[in-house]
């Protein structure tokens, strides 16, 4: 009704137009329907089931007891271990987001600016790693970072190290691998977010007396920040929800929400707690992301 009214206002209340707008609305509905159904079946429905599960009870012997209790939330939020897990998860996201953005920024800037006829090929190359599964790439990193891996091997062969240093099987390895695996997303997000950047703006700053450094600080960086923000957010979200890499490379030492949820769901069989943790993850990081977007929006204006 509201849409109808506004259309009427805009078109001066012609009834002919009204008919067409109804048709248009039907068209719009037809276009968004398949996606919405997919979203409902694939996301909303499981979400409802999960939320319901989080109020059940984990009985003796791992039994699943259907009730309505806040016990799981109580346990998750009162146990310092889970706060630690939340902290770890947040830290992982911030670090991976920050590092990925720092490493991807020059690449994205170059890819945006280049006038080479290979531009398309270069961009495809930059995001080609996405064609390989994260699992394969994680094993690649295990081969590189392991005790017998390339890096430790080199350091020990050259006598710089007497024994291997622990790169794999702990947080550092997870971060290194995640940053590399998620970097293509950062590059893509930044390239698409660098739209306001324009060669003549930087040139104008130059003619006005700005050195290269000042041009970067005062023009290039501010204009590319929206892309940087998006890239950071994307990598942050993907890292805090990442599972495969932390699990394969964490060596059992990296406790983050995703691995905890997996453990509770598939090892301890504590589905209610796993669900409660998932809901906490969803709420906590949903709020964070919303706040972040509010913040960046204000910044961009």
């Amino acid at each position: 009704m509201v849409t109808l009214q506004t259309t009427q206002l805009r078109t001066g209340g012609l009834p002919v137009k009204e008919k067409r707008s109804a048709k248009q609305r039907a068209g719009t509905l037809g276009l968004i329907l398949p996606g919405s159904i997919g979203l409902f079946v694939g996301f909303v429905l499981p979400l409802i089931v999960m939320i319901r599960m989080s109020f059940n009870q984990h009985g003796t012997g791992g039994q699943l007891v259907e009730t309505l209790t806040f016990e799981n939330y109580g346990r998750a939020l009162s146990d310092p271990f889970y706060w630690q897990v939340i902290g770890n998860t947040l830290w992982l996201g911030l670090l991976c987001g920050g590092l990925a953005v720092i490493l991807a920024y020059p690449i994205a800037l170059f890819l945006t600016r280049t006038t080479s006829k290979w531009k398309g090929v270069l961009i495809a190359l930059a995001i080609a790693p996405l064609l390989t599964s994260a699992v394969a790439r994680t094993y690649g990193w295990i081969a590189i970072l392991g005790d017998q891996g390339i890096i430790n091997g080199f350091l020990m062969d050259t006598g710089l190290l007497s024994g291997p240093i622990r790169l794999n099987n702990d947080m550092p390895g997870v971060i290194i691998a995640l940053v590399e695996i998620l970097m293509p997303y950062a590059i893509l997000a930044m390239i698409s977010g660098f739209g306001r950047l324009n060669n003549s703006l930087e040139e104008a700053a130059g003619t006005l007396g700005a050195s290269r450094f000042k041009v970067f600080m005062r023009v290039t960086l501010p204009l590319t920040l929206p892309g940087v923000f998006t890239g950071f957010l994307l990598v942050f979200v993907l890292s805090i929800s990442s599972f495969v890499t932390p699990r394969l490379m964490g060596g059992g030492r990296v406790f983050i929400l995703a691995t905890e949820v997996y453990n509770e769901a598939t090892q301890t069989l504590n589905w209610p707690l796993a669900s409660a943790l998932s809901v906490i993850l969803l709420i906590l990081f949903g709020l964070l992301v919303a706040g972040y977007q509010q913040l960046t929006k204000r910044f961009e204006d």
Partner: protein, 359 residues
């Protein structure tokens, strides 16, 4: 104006990138499907994946199908017991599985939730041969395999031979792989450690936990990937604890890079039970299959293939197999009450995280 053009170009690139990602995702999704054989009754069996599936199919299912041409067995592989219970839970009202082979403690949870059915002794005559330790007091699924915790060594990379659990404490730094709790290998190791300290794991576990904490610098991974056997074979770890059956099978495939050592200071058994699913429309076939898995023939054949200890008294293994399988009569056995353990697993896991791994 040129800004606009660049914007649309970048959008196009983003779209290309997104579709590449989508393609990758699609490619990594495996499709699965199954068909029905006609004229036969299908028995659907849920069990472990990978080498368990391969060996079980060859050593047991093929024999059963030869003996019972009226049945056709469809094997549904699963990553672990918990995943199996999850599947059974989710289809409790309309089960697609008739028989499930899974860890005893997880099976017990399933029994309490009413996922499994009691067996009819008359339909499973071989129940009479099952050793006492393998029987369920209330008539639910019996033990089908016994496995035990062993030491795994890579003789090419390991500086020293080891013979007991205690020797792990003398290993060099960063050389040991241990699947930490909540994995039941970590749980079993905790019980054995308590036993070595002369404590009863059901009374006070703290000493064992403190002892395990001393292992921290020795351990390279608390979550060996893809599994503990590959980790040792590849040399990523020189020592590990793991299960005998898989250890023996992988050892044979390892070109001498994986050696299985039965610890001389404690044997902890792990039990897989075979269960009939509550609500199956095929109780007769399910019990016929369960009976076959408990037959002398099947037990011997599966033990010879995968080095599980038989759960029936009348099984006789060839000597070279017997030597590589723990004897349920071994005096070193530390009996683990997996039913009692099911309730302790959370608490022990907490202790591991706080003290053993975190410490």
């Amino acid at each position: 104006m040129s800004t606009n053009r660049r914007l649309t170009r970048n959008k196009r690139l983003l779209t290309i990138g997104a579709s590449i990602v989508a393609m990758g995702t699609l490619a990594s999704c495996a499709s699965s499907g199954g068909g029905d054989a006609d004229g036969q009754t299908t028995i659907t069996v849920l069990g472990y994946t990978a080498i368990f599936e391969d060996n079980f199919t060859q050593a047991v299912i093929e024999g059963f199908e030869a003996q019972h041409p009226e049945y056709n067995v469809e094997y549904v592989p699963s990553q672990n017991s918990a995943e199996m219970l999850g599947k059974l839970r989710s289809e409790a009202s309309n089960p697609t599985v008739d028989v499930a082979i899974l860890d005893q403690s997880v099976a017990n949870t399933g029994i309490q939730e009413g996922v499994f059915a009691q067996l009819d002794e008359a339909a499973v005559p071989n129940l009479a041969n099952v050793v006492d330790m393998g029987l369920n007091a209330e008539g639910y699924g019996p033990a089908m395999t016994f496995d035990n915790l062993v030491l795994l060594v890579n003789p090419e990379e390991a500086p020293e031979e080891i013979s007991s659990i205690q020797d792990l404490w003398d290993a060099p730094d960063n050389s040991v792989a241990i699947p930490a709790a909540p994995d039941i290998q970590g749980i079993a190791l905790t019980a054995l450690t308590a036993n070595n300290l002369g404590a009863d794991y059901q009374e006070d576990i703290q000493p064992a936990i403190d002892e395990l904490a001393l292992l921290q610098p020795k351990v390279t991974s608390w979550d060996p990937q893809p599994d503990v056997y590959q980790t040792v074979t590849s040399g990523s770890a020189q020592y590990a604890v793991g299960w005998n059956a898989r250890g023996q099978v992988f050892s044979d495939q390892s070109d001498g890079r994986l050696q299985v050592v039965q610890p001389d200071d404690g044997i902890a058994f792990q039990v897989n039970t075979i269960n009939m699913v509550e609500g199956t429309e095929n109780a007769e076939g399910a019990q016929a299959f369960i009976d076959y898995t408990l037959s002398k023939e099947s037990q011997e054949s599966f033990s010879s293939a995968m080095f599980y200890a038989p759960t029936v008294k009348n099984a006789e293994l060839p000597e070279e197999v017997q030597a590589r399988v723990a004897d349920p009569q071994d005096p070193n056995i530390v009996e683990i009450d997996w039913i009692w353990m099911a309730d302790q697993r959370d608490a022990w896991t907490d202790l591991w995280r706080r003290t053993v791994i975190g410490g």
